[in-house]
């Protein structure tokens, strides 16, 4: 079997497909509004005319490329290309401002490669047991997981805990607009059927990040921007970055976090980056430097979010439960071809499956080639600010419209963005609000389903607060909320000594 897999992967056409896929994905990922999901959906018909293994490898390469591509705009423009890149903006953008854009980009490439490879090892060898763990999490666990995600985000971003929490909870509230997923009625739509579909995650992401950026960029003067010079050559930076990645345990820890969080359907991909970032920040000797341009921040976020790529396929292939939207399309592709998910998939169609996994390895390695595009991307920094502003505006509008051709979405996007612009000026962080929008539906489903199930099983308290995993999650949440105070107390104690 190994020989078959290797010979399938070593064909020139396969290698061309992998490289092409990674480049397409990279382009798609860096444009906010164009998502990996969209690119895969467009490609689906082409894949009928290929053997299933080739089709899966192509889709996998695009997925890998797209997740990495999202880091580019996060670093250069402070606009994450996909929700999973939010954590990349924290240190990536300050690094670019310091003239270290190239180093940050190289780090995002190499971190993605390593994260992807490690996640892939788990997909190859440990898929069934890992998928079984993910099944242990029921509605209450998902609710607390979402709250944990927001709490962590608030503790990372906020100078002010209160404003961060307000921002995050407003994000959660925004997701309640539209038809209630479980109650069936429409909420907060002002009787407009156009709003019945609610605020899609991408619309929230584009609105809250892009529009404030458009308004800010328009006000920046050209001279300010020209100060940024991109330092370092591609190769020397890459070597530096590789050394950095292997110099500590941060990389390994981030990829493990990414893999384990990525298995959880829905929540995984979006919070893995943040969780890894937070963990690395806490372990670092200089946590205060995070958010001001510390390369470890980019390392953690990008390693974790690419580890998710492979691990989101674990529940998809073992139980038919996709961990992320792109995984859903790949699942659809194998279903149309008549393959069935389950334990048998890895035995009956072993060659196809291991070709895909091998393809993932190669796609991650092919990401090295993407580094030669870096000089082109870095040129973005020298484009006059007002031109950049209008381009982002056009991209936001088309990107929002492209999601489902709903004009109301564009208006919602613009309104959210304008409010966020002023909110940002008044000290309300963007990231918790976006995470609130990303996780809101999941949190609502978790909470309401818990109520429904608890009714049948007698007692809300034991079901909602008493299960072992929920207890752990609640303790973590309390710890993160109390952390700033604990830290202050600790410093006081140290100070008096």
């Amino acid at each position: 079997m190994i020989a078959e897999v290797v010979s399938a992967l070593m064909q020139p056409s396969m290698i061309a497909i992998i490289i092409g896929g990674v480049f397409i994905g990279n382009l798609v990922g860096c444009l906010p509004g164009l998502t990996a999901t969209m690119a895969l959906a467009v490609l689906l018909p082409i894949t009928y005319y290929m053997p299933i293994s080739t089709a899966l490898v192509l889709m996998g390469s695009i997925y890998v490329g797209a997740i990495r591509g999202g880091g580019i705009t996060a670093i250069l423009l402070n606009v994450p290309g996909t929700p999973s890149d939010i954590a990349t903006t924290f240190d990536g953008f300050p690094l670019a401002q310091k003239g270290l854009a190239r180093r940050a980009l190289m780090m995002s490439i190499f971190a993605s490669i390593m994260g992807g490879i490690i996640g892939n090892i788990f997909l190859a060898f440990l898929a069934p047991p890992l998928a079984r763990i993910s099944l242990r999490l029921g509605p209450p666990e998902f609710f607390w997981l979402c709250i944990l995600g927001i709490t962590i985000m608030v503790s990372i971003t906020g100078e002010s805990l209160g404003k961060g929490l307000i921002s995050g909870f407003i994000g959660l509230l925004i997701t309640t607009v539209g038809v209630s997923p479980l109650g069936g009625e429409t909420r907060f739509t002002f009787d407009l059927p156009q709003l019945a579909g609610g605020v899609p995650i991408i619309v929230g992401l584009i609105g809250l990040y892009c529009i404030p950026r458009v308004l800010e960029l328009a006000q920046e003067k050209v001279q300010e921007a020209e100060g940024i010079i991109v330092k370092g050559s591609i190769h020397s930076e890459m070597v530096w970055v590789i050394r950095k990645w292997f110099s500590g345990f941060q990389g390994i820890i981030s990829s493990l976090i990414g893999t384990f969080i990525g298995i959880l359907p829905g929540a995984g991909g979006n919070i893995a980056g943040i969780m890894a970032y937070d963990q690395i920040k806490r372990m670092d000797k200089h946590p205060e430097e995070f958010g001001k341009g510390r390369i470890e921040g980019v390392l953690a976020a990008e390693t974790a979010n690419n580890a998710v790529v492979s691990s989101s396929l674990i529940p998809a292939f073992t139980f038919g439960i996709p961990g992320s939207p792109p995984a859903a399309i790949m699942l659809g592709a194998i279903l149309v071809q008549g393959l069935r998910p389950g334990a048998k998939l890895f035995t009956e169609h072993a060659v196809d499956m291991y070709t895909l996994i091998g393809g993932f390895f190669l796609a991650n390695i092919a990401l090295f080639l993407v580094m030669y595009l870096s000089p082109i991307y870095s040129k973005i920094l020298s484009v006059p600010r007002e031109i950049l502003a209008v381009f982002i505006a056009v991209m936001s509008v088309v990107g929002t419209f492209a999601i489902r051709g709903n004009f109301a979405d564009v208006m919602v996007m613009c309104t959210l963005g304008t409010v966020m612009y002023f909110g940002r000026k008044l000290g309300f962080p963007t990231a918790p609000a976006v995470l609130g929008i990303v996780l809101g539906r999941l949190a609502e489903e978790g909470l309401t389903q818990s109520m429904m199930i608890a009714k049948a099983r007698g007692g809300l308290l034991p079901y909602f607060f008493g299960r072992p995993i929920t207890v752990i999650l609640i303790i973590l949440i309390l710890f993160f909320l109390a952390w700033p105070f604990l830290q202050a107390q600790l410093q006081k104690v140290r100070g008096t000594k």
Binding site: L135, G184, T186, P265, I329, R340, A456
Partner: protein
């Protein structure tokens, strides 16, 4: 400085005008079809409605002469997609997958732009009839449907039953089952079949009301079907019968029939000739061997209904649903108008 302003303004105008002119010239041909079709899928990529569209997509170009592009317009249980459909130009270039009983229930319970009549006017064909199935885990305490009913009667509201969405096919299937067997379940609503399946596999719910596709994706080795809400077992499930069980409910003495139906429709108000053309071609595709093979492969229980029959079917379904909802006291009909009583 002023000259720059002038230069840029003039240039902008020139570019703008030339573009306007070039875009208007392109219109005005009589032949149909000349441009690609758009196929709206009002649900998530990778779901059953998407799979249906993908089966069609393979044959589209051969029969229509032009390709088709799948568009995902999801949200509000299909509503956003169908609202988008009825606002598209009725030029015969847009089709959409539609689902029953969704398109009957939604306009009753909330404000929609589309109406059920729009779907009757634009109906192309019915394609799939997917019966509801009462499904449990392999290791469940309920070995057959009678055990489940007996237990649920003894412990009302203690058995959790997962359904996808409120006022959907699954939900009405559950309500009908409760009415027929005189039981009461604790309904647990899910936003989609993927989280519903996760919860069943993880043991967070006891029973799942699902369809053929769910059984196939969750893996016949993991689940057991207690009853099927149809006269016969769908063809695509027959190879797995030994593994999953799955008797039709009426053969077990329970008069329970519930199903989700999927079909195809176009924008209401499309010229009759064009509707007929689409119907004819879809008819041809549906009769090919490759189509039925594709449907089987994708796990879709095909049931073809031509336009007239499908229109009649939607009408009947609407009457039936209104009757059921009245019996369950969700709605009331006053002077031919539907009044929602509870949600």
């Amino acid at each position: 400085m002023l000259t720059c302003k002038k230069v840029s303004l003039v240039l902008a105008l020139v570019i703008g005008l030339s573009l306007l002119v070039s875009s208007t010239i392109a219109l005005g041909a009589e032949k149909y079809p000349t441009q690609p079709f758009a196929y709206i899928v009002p649900f998530s990529p990778g779901g059953t409605t998407d799979l249906q569209a993908r089966v069609f997509e393979r044959f589209w170009k051969k029969y229509f002469g032009v390709p088709v592009a799948v568009e995902y317009v999801k949200g509000a249980g299909g509503q956003i997609g169908w609202d988008t459909l009825v606002r598209r130009k009725p030029d015969g270039y847009t089709v959409a997958g539609n689902n029953l009983p969704h398109l009957v229930m939604q306009p009753i319970f909330r404000k929609t732009i589309y109406t059920t009549d729009d779907h009757i006017k634009g109906a192309i064909a019915g394609l799939v009839s997917d019966p509801e199935m009462i499904t449990v885990l392999k290791g469940s305490q309920f070995k057959n449907i009678h055990e489940l009913i007996e237990y649920a009667r003894k412990h009302p509201g203690a058995v959790t039953a997962g359904v996808v969405g409120k006022f959907t096919g699954d939900w009405i299937g559950l309500k009908l089952f409760e009415a027929v067997t005189n039981t009461k379940f604790a309904e647990v609503i899910f936003p989609g079949s993927a989280p519903q399946g996760t919860s069943l596999l993880g043991g967070h719910i006891d029973v799942m009301f699902g369809n053929t596709g769910d059984i196939i994706t969750l893996g016949p080795e993991n689940v057991r079907v207690l009853a099927i809400g149809d006269k016969e077992v769908p063809k695509v499930l027959r190879p797995h019968l030994g593994e999953i069980g799955g008797p039709p409910a009426h053969k077990e003495g329970i008069e329970w029939f519930a199903a989700i139906h999927r079909g195809l429709c176009t924008v209401p108000g499309t010229p009759k000739k064009r509707i007929e053309f689409i119907c004819k071609k879809v008819d041809q595709i549906a009769k090919t061997k490759g189509y039925s093979e594709g449907m089987d492969k994708a796990g879709l229980p095909a049931y073809y209904r031509p336009r007239k029959e499908y229109q009649e079917f939607i009408r009947k379904e609407k009457e039936q649903m209104i009757g059921i909802l009245q019996k369950l006291k969700y709605i009331e009909v006053k002077d031919g108008k539907i009044v929602v009583k509870k949600r």
